[in-house]
Symmetry: C2
Subunit: 223 residues, 2 copies
Amino acid sequence: MSEVETRHHRLYDALRARICLLDYPPGTKLGEEALAAEFGVSRTPVRRVLARLSDEGLVETRHGIGTIVTDVEPAELAHVYALRMELAELVGRLSPCPPEPEMLERIRAMLTRAEALARNPEARAFAELNAAFFDESLALTGNTPLAETAERLYFQTARIWLARIGALDLSRECESFVAEIRETLAALEAGDVMAAALVRRAHVSMSFTRLKGAEGAAEAAGG
Amino acid sequence: MSEVETRHHRLYDALRARICLLDYPPGTKLGEEALAAEFGVSRTPVRRVLARLSDEGLVETRHGIGTIVTDVEPAELAHVYALRMELAELVGRLSPCPPEPEMLERIRAMLTRAEALARNPEARAFAELNAAFFDESLALTGNTPLAETAERLYFQTARIWLARIGALDLSRECESFVAEIRETLAALEAGDVMAAALVRRAHVSMSFTRLKGAEGAAEAAGG
DNA sequence: TAGGATTTGTGCGTATGTATT
DNA sequence: TAATACATACGCACAAATCCT
């Protein structure tokens, strides 16, 4: 990979992570000059990265105003979740890849961390571990376009889910996550990728149901 | 829409169409300077569009060499088709939208044009009509992320299909297309979006099968 | 091997658009 | 309403990379 591409990825990954972990919550204004100074480059490569984030819908750039981290409307959120559920299942049906031993080892390590997290819940550590687990799940399909699509959709809504997690029961979310990793591990150790995919689909569905419930409760309470 | 965005879309749509209709076949070098001169802008907005096309995988930009229209490997092609089939079905399951009368009218007009094309096959006109029909099909779902994903995948492989169409029986492709429009129209006139989605899935599948058959025949013949 | 031609990447000054006072 | 501040969009000149002779 060329040095240009390396730097682009470094910038892109850093900004995307900050957006999705709410270091930059929706509405945050990202100054080209400030980012350029922080990363030790000029405005040009920064603008290249912001353009990509804009094409992907994570930020919105407007002439004379700035580059602002976007929010996601509830209707759009529902659509993304509905699609993510279907894609999760497709991971088990289109070119499923049996997991390598190293992958199982990594997931076991995640389970340990998740269990510790469940005993001592913390939103940000939860979000990071969740993202890492999602990243592993993408390796279960050899269908590259499917993996790329699933990843894009995950990053489009991860930050919204994290933003609303205060309204949810964080410890309950952690419990559910631990259960998901356990069930996934059992499926993968049996070599059943389809079962792992169905577990994931079920948990995406439940996660969205809890999200909707929390939203409804917040609205009913006048929030 | 701002003037900046308007120009961006004009450039983007133009270049994407040229790539997908094989005005720029894979391997073509797109010069920033030349495009800037043709569209009466400087290199900057051209580079903005080429960056987007690069992120979407339609071109590949390399320092010191140029921006080159990509090709798609057979394995990748198979993955994209497999995914497109599934997404075609999802159009009927996720937020299906009953078609408006104007849409039916437009599809009837397409049927007429397709029938004329079947009597007098022509690859480029076929490709354009096919793209227009696909565009209409996206309106059948209210799930925006699904529609956007389906569109991206369509544009990733449309040019490959068109490039290989010489190896196929063009008149047979036209016949199949006429049949697809007829069946789709029947389904939509009955208000059955799911049936229309299944028709589409079936035809995407058959199209890929014919493509594989032609590839295999070409290889067997030593091509 | 060297050097010139060509092409993209970068840096920065300027133009343009927006919001606020 | 006008002026000012500030941010992005643009265009150009130069640097860096590649190819060909």
